[in-house]
Symmetry: C2
Subunit: 323 residues, 2 copies
């Protein structure tokens, strides 16, 4: 049997796949060449996880990769009808981003409570702008998304003394760590009481656009919203209206419907909105971690063992106790 | 016996002392009137803790307050030879600021690790400036100051996964919470290994100017320095040189030798330096907490019970297990 063909849809820099040397034929591709190469591949590694090229290039009837791995936690760009209907296994980068994203969210919460943006604006004006700030201990957060990222965020906010309610697809009363996990149906009531609302959900048809005018209207005018999920969780115009109208005290977005956020987007200059360029999970060395995670899974695949992080293609994420 | 006279050296807004009604004669004073009123006072409440007026006004031989309370954690402005030599009891606001300051420091550490200042600068330019950032989990911090504020900072950094070494006046191996507390003599070695150096020490002759060119030279060029102690812990020119010369990656100062920091100070525009106006401990309601703390101690004083938070005037802070 010849070595399997691993096709890599690249972004810069290339993944480190030295561990596969002698055991796989590795072919790198860009978007234009993907349709031609895809039917020949046994394995597709989607390194450029923001690309929609797989959707365009996925083969119809006939040969196709048996395994697709995406170097991201979200798999929304792979939820293609033809891929859903196939027996191709999809795996993701679950676990790599949890800690960094939780740190990022905790930093944003503290930065907003302590008004770092305002203090540093005063610094640029050489102005001693004393003000009282907020304690985060004793405030209340709602974290939407009960997968590993949402759980890690919840845990980090908890150790800062914040009361946290976790919301997932399915309500349950016996979560090993958090006791109760709320279902999405409980969200309206929870939004009313929250000082912090954090979105870390997978993007699925159910969660798309869930943060709209109705949701923002439920939140307290002193509440703040953080999105580290996907841009399409948020109706951005509705968020802009809520902020501009003073119906929400602040927000921080790391993800956007359209990335990179175009220079002419009105979001850039919106008062009370903190913008970062889809980087909350990306700490130095993250690409090496992602490469190692794929190689680990390749070892299992070659040995015929069950893969880690197999995505339930109907649900749109890796299910299980932690989901 | 007539009601005791409580003299209050005010800052805005006034402390809430309603609880003392009918039990004390409360007189408010400003700096010019302090010398005249001070000898008549039984109790002095230094509400304007940044004032040096007590130093100028403290009576020589003759009557003087038997108890001085300062609405601050630091008592450095009360360490006057005549007050040291007297039998006047000094108490402070120990405990009120611990949690807020620890949150503030954690926020600064996360903000620097995630480069919030750089991302928000890019936002002002409508620029999608993607970059990798740093994990804080697994980094190493040195917290100088093993009183309640330093300990609370250490505890908060620990729960974020940071390895923390605590430095106090006296080395000990059997600290109930941290195991080992290092003495100041161990500082040079600890500075060499630290990613984060946090000053939360009391200002005493031993700690004044401890962060000077020699100290900054020991730190890694990737290290960052945070001061929430007192401005005079730092030789500001030396810090500016270290930052400007790239021998230190960043710093955040909440306190300064000269407060408010003058508009013409070169510190305002120093790259890599984050400035806030002596506010790290001041969360909404903090003055009410301080008032309540003084009134609690007044209840004990009237009842002839031992006061809380009695400062060891030689040491310059409240000693004990937590010091």
């Amino acid at each position: 049997m010849s070595d399997p063909c691993v096709l890599v849809l690249d972004a810069d820099p290339l993944p480190r796949l030295d561990r596969l040397a002698g055991r796989a034929v590795i072919t790198h591709t860009d978007e234009p060449s993907l349709p031609e190469l895809l039917p020949e591949a046994d394995v597709l590694l989607v390194w450029d996880f923001l690309s929609d090229a797989v959707r365009a290039a996925w083969p119809g009837p006939g040969p196709r990769p048996r395994w697709v791995h995406t170097a991201s936690a979200g798999v929304d760009r792979l939820l293609i009808p033809e891929l859903l209907a196939s027996d191709t296994v999809v795996t993701n980068a679950r676990g790599t981003f949890d800690g960094p994203i939780a740190e990022y969210v905790a930093g944003l919460v503290l930065a907003m409570a302590k008004d770092f943006p305002g203090r540093w604006a005063a610094q640029r004006e050489r102005r001693w702008a004393y003000r009282e700030t907020e304690k985060v201990a004793g405030t209340r957060a709602v974290v939407v998304g009960s997968g590993p990222i949402g759980r890690r965020i919840a845990r980090t906010l908890l150790v800062l003394g914040i009361e946290v309610e976790l919301v997932g697809r399915t309500a349950r009363e016996t979560d090993r760590e958090f006791g109760r996990v709320h279902g999405n149906g409980a969200l309206p009531g929870l939004l009313r009481g929250a000082d912090w609302v954090v979105c870390a959900a997978p993007l699925t048809p159910e969660t798309k656009g869930m943060f709209d005018a109705d949701a923002f209207a439920l939140m307290k005018p002193t509440a703040r919203f953080v999105n580290v999920g996907r841009g399409q969780h948020v109706v951005e115009d509705d968020l802009a209206d809520a902020l501009a109208g003073g119906r929400l005290a602040g927000a921080a977005l790391d993800v956007f419907s359209d990335e990179p956020l175009p220079a002419d987007s009105p979001l850039w200059g919106l008062p009370g909105l903190l913008i970062s360029p889809h980087m909350s999970g990306d700490t130095v060395g993250w690409r090496d971690d992602l490469s190692a995670q794929f190689c680990d899974n390749f070892d299992r695949w070659i040995a015929g063992e069950p893969l880690f992080n197999v995505v339930d293609k109907e649900l749109g994420y890796v299910p299980g106790e932690m989901a």
